[in-house]
């Protein structure tokens, strides 16, 4: 104990707020009897700190403690200390720095403080939620005329909201508008600032533990209990059995459980930042494109893909040629589509097949960073025999229908070449299964299935439908952000689950034959007393006094 008195008082100064926070006294402090209690508390701290100082000094440098007490007001605990002027108590950093440096430091600290402000973060989250809601209410990605019609100036929504608002604020493309992205960026900054200034210091505080050495201190915990005729060692064994980490030193016991629950929120924030970073990478560095390819044709990957941002760099794999070997649709017995399948072959520059795979919805093809999805289908041609001649390929066009259903039509002109009004046979198809045929007058004739080998006679013309050639709708993309985002997803799931854990701390001390137990927890405040009562019931009661004495002498 060579510490001079001045250092000692200083350290008490540093310690007071910390220890206050740590033990969470204010929590059960009755407001109507303040003065006497406060004095007592300070007295107690003096005692407590004197014991603690040498131990702490050896472990942690004082500067670190300054950081802790100086850090922005903690979110979880000690809000009341904010008013009591914690910031004034802590001295400023003593490093000799130039004025500019100091100014920089101060502004950066101020910015950090503002960003890590909880109400601001909550406001940002509300803003994002609101913007997203607006984004779903206003139709996205339409032409300016659409908005001018939808939100006309003479009938503004809510009395002021017209199409000019929509277009100036960029609400026609909400999820890529500067306002939305800016709010997200602000939230990301808040996340980082909060992690740095609040969460990490909180964990540092939670990790520092000490024995409580007076019964009063133990009683002041959120949960406290007195066990007559018991030994603190038995309690330790019981707690260990319940999964607690137990520290015993003489008559004092400290135990904790679920410390990971304190760390996890940091992980949640970091995972969110990781996801945002990955999404940014996706937005700036990916290629996308979609293509409709009739069965039997090919395309080059690079021709289809369009860059989405300035970081998009084409790779070798863009030279790959894709050949659609076969496109087929499978049906349920009721006639509805059950699956689309496309058999694809990939060829490199030398014409060598590098990969072949049948893709379907939910089962894309991946090659060299490129993913090919089955997303759509179409009908490209009808193969027919006309009066046993052919086969002819009839081009098929998609007819405009309102609704999601598709309808394809084709037309086979008959006779009188060169005349003004050409008549012919019309064929309509909803899918690749059946084709409906109409005669020259437009009257219904019959339905034929492709490949049924069943000719149909229309005004003396024999038509046999050999095949309906489908086209596959493929979507291609490269996305360098996916691994990052997935890593973020994994981390977020894990840390959110861990965050449910409640960090429980228990102090106990042997007071004669009685064990005084106190504890607190940060989340499961309702279950904690029940669990404690359950555990304390399992602490054996010492009946014989002679049994009790040796155990005490052992511990001391």
């Amino acid at each position: 104990m060579k510490i001079s008195s001045s250092i000692l008082t200083k350290s008490i100064n540093f310690h007071r707020p910390n220890t206050l926070k740590f033990h969470n006294f204010h929590h059960f402090n009755q407001p109507h009897i303040p003065n006497l209690r406060n004095e007592k508390k300070i007295m107690f701290f003096r005692v407590c700190c004197k014991i603690k100082v040498p131990q702490d000094n050896s472990k942690k440098p004082i500067s670190q403690k300054i950081v802790i007490s100086e850090g922005a007001p903690s979110l979880k605990e000690g809000e009341k200390e904010k008013e009591s002027g914690r910031r004034e108590v802590s001295p400023p950093p003593k490093k000799p720095t130039s004025a500019v440096n100091r100014l920089l430091k101060r502004t950066s600290q101020k910015v950090l403080g503002v960003l890590s402000n909880l109400p601001l973060a909550i406001g940002e989250m509300f803003a994002i939620a609101g913007l997203m809601a607006i984004g779903t209410l206003i139709d996205q990605g339409e032409s300016p005329d659409f908005y001018a019609q939808r939100y006309p100036e003479d009938h503004p929504v809510f009395g002021f909201f017209t199409w000019k608002w929509v277009l100036t604020l960029g609400f026609d493309h909400m999820f890529s508008s500067p306002i939305f992205l800016g709010t997200l960026a602000l939230l990301a900054a808040s996340l980082m600032a909060c992690t740095y200034t609040t969460q990490i210091p909180l964990v540092k505080v939670a990790r520092r533990w000490n024995f409580l050495k007076s019964p009063e201190a133990v009683y002041k915990q959120e949960f406290s209990e007195k066990l007559p005729r018991a030994s603190v060692q038995d309690l330790g064994v019981v707690l260990m059995g319940a999964g607690y980490e137990v520290f015993l030193k003489g008559p004092y016991l400290y135990a904790f459980k679920g410390l990971a629950g304190r760390f996890a929120p940091i992980g949640v924030h970091l995972a969110m930042i990781l996801i945002m970073a990955g999404a940014t990478l996706s937005a700036t560095g990916s290629f996308r494109g979609s293509v409709n390819v009739p069965q039997g044709l090919n395309f080059v990957v690079g021709d289809v893909l369009n860059p989405s941002g300035f970081l998009s760099n084409p790779t070798e794999a863009f030279n790959t040629e894709v050949h659609v070997n076969r496109f087929s649709m499978e049906y349920f017995e009721s006639g509805e589509v059950s699956q689309f399948r496309t058999d694809l072959s990939l060829y490199d520059l030398n014409g060598k097949e590098v990969l072949r795979k049948t893709i379907s919805v939910n089962d894309p093809l991946r090659y060299g960073g490129i993913t090919i999805y089955q997303t759509d289908w179409g009908l490209s041609a009808l193969q027919i025999l006309k009066d046993d001649e052919g086969p002819f390929n009839l081009a098929v066009a998609r007819l405009k229908l309102n609704g999601d259903k598709k309808l394809y039509g084709s037309f086979l002109p008959v006779g009188n070449d060169g005349s003004q009004n050409v008549k012919g046979i019309s064929m309509l198809a909803r899918d690749l299964q059946s084709i409906v045929l109409y005669d020259l007058e437009g009257k219904f004739v019959g339905v034929r299935r492709p490949n049924s080998k069943l000719p149909i006679d229309i005004d003396g013309i024999k038509i046999e439908i050999l095949d309906a050639i489908g086209s596959t709708g493929l979507e291609l993309k490269t996305d360098p952000g996916v691994p990052v985002v997935y890593a973020g997803f994994g981390a977020l799931m894990l840390t959110t689950c861990i965050s449910y854990l409640s960090h429980a701390q228990i102090w106990a001390l042997q007071d004669g034959t009685t064990v005084v137990i106190g504890g607190k927890t940060n989340r499961a405040k309702g279950e904690f007393p029940d669990e404690m009562n359950y555990l304390l019931d399992r602490v054996p009661e010492l009946v014989d006094k002679t049994q009790n004495k040796p155990s005490e002498s052992m511990s001391v």
Partner: protein, 323 residues
């Protein structure tokens, strides 16, 4: 045929049991607490739970896919989740907790809605759109619905808390009548408090009553917090697995599809709730208000988007299946 009959039987048994349970609940609340009756209530809930489980399994076996492909099935699953949330605490702890008062009526309401005439045409659909044929269906939808159930339960507890806090104002609004009973089942809790406080008021000075009140508020606050954080975990897993699935099926892990966006809005709102909880000054009424907003938003997310039938998530929409 046998399957549909079995389905019918199970639906009817569970629905009628749960109706009886609710009636008995009301009787016990209004008249007196009878311990024997309370036990039989729990048994009734257990029977219903098994009936619904049986119903889901039947559908699973018969249609050969996880019974979560449309709105009807997801509603049944939602009510099953309510039962689950109802059952778990009563298995862990024998004592009564405030959660029951919320989960039981919620379960009957969702089930009643699912079996009611509004959705009868949807019972028989039974085919899976290509995009739904994936292992992710089970993971994504079950997690989402479990999350909705837990969040709904938790936020209803918060709503109860709000009602208790603003009880006096409410009573003034409702013509200064002491009991705002019969308003809905959700108000069962207040009835309970009113009963309690009436008894206490007759016997003891007001500060004891205040003590009970504040204790109850604290309990509600705590339980809604715990249940919401549990639901938040499910929602997170649900959204993320949905994103992974979307990257397999639609070509992007995030499409800003209306349903997706609203799920994210829900997530954000409950994230706000959890953050408000960390601040002691903002706790209580403030967090409960946010939970109430969240409650409304879950319904928008769950039904509203489907009602409009827009976006990529339009499988379970009314229009499509009614066609």
């Amino acid at each position: 045929m046998i399957f549909s009959t079995l389905e019918h039987i199970l639906t009817h048994i569970s629905f009628s049991t749960v109706s009886v349970v609710i009636t008995l609940h009301l009787i016990t609340l209004l008249v007196n607490e009878i311990v024997g009756l309370y036990n039989s209530l729990e048994k009734g809930m257990l029977v219903t739970f098994f009936c619904i489980t049986g119903l889901l399994v039947t559908r699973w076996v018969y249609w050969k896919h996880f019974p979560l492909s449309d709105l009807y099935e997801s509603l049944i699953f939602l009510s099953w989740s309510f039962y689950l949330i109802h059952m778990i605490p009563s298995f862990l702890k024998k004592e009564k907790n405030s959660l029951n008062v919320i989960t039981a009526p919620s379960a009957i309401f969702t089930q009643g809605f699912a079996t009611s005439g509004l959705l009868t045409e949807m019972h028989q659909s039974g085919i899976l759109v290509p995009a739904l044929q994936s292992q992710w269906l089970m993971m994504h939808v079950s997690m989402m619905v479990l999350g909705y159930a837990a969040l709904l339960g938790g936020s209803l507890l918060s709503v109860t808390l709000l009602i208790i806090i603003f009880q006096k104002d409410l009573i003034q609004v409702f013509d200064k009548r002491k009991h705002l009973l019969n308003e809905s089942f959700f108000f069962g809790e207040i009835q309970y408090i009113n009963e309690k406080s009436n008894i206490v008021q007759n016997a003891s000075p007001s500060y004891v009553r205040n003590y009970y009140r504040s204790q109850l508020i604290e309990q509600l606050d705590h339980w809604s917090y715990r249940v919401i954080s549990l639901g938040f975990i499910f929602l997170t897993i649900g959204i993320l697995s949905g994103a992974v699935w979307a990257n397999e099926a639609w070509g992007s892990y995030w499409n800003w599809d209306p349903k997706e966006t609203w799920a994210f809005i829900t997530w954000t709102i409950f994230a706000i709730y959890l953050h408000i909880r960390t601040n002691k000054n903002l706790r209580g009424a403030n967090s409960a208000i946010v939970a109430f907003i969240g409650f409304l938003i879950i319904w928008i997310c769950y039904f509203g988007v489907n009602l409009l039938g827009i976006g990529l998530h339009s499988y379970g929409s009314f229009t499509l299946t009614l066609n």
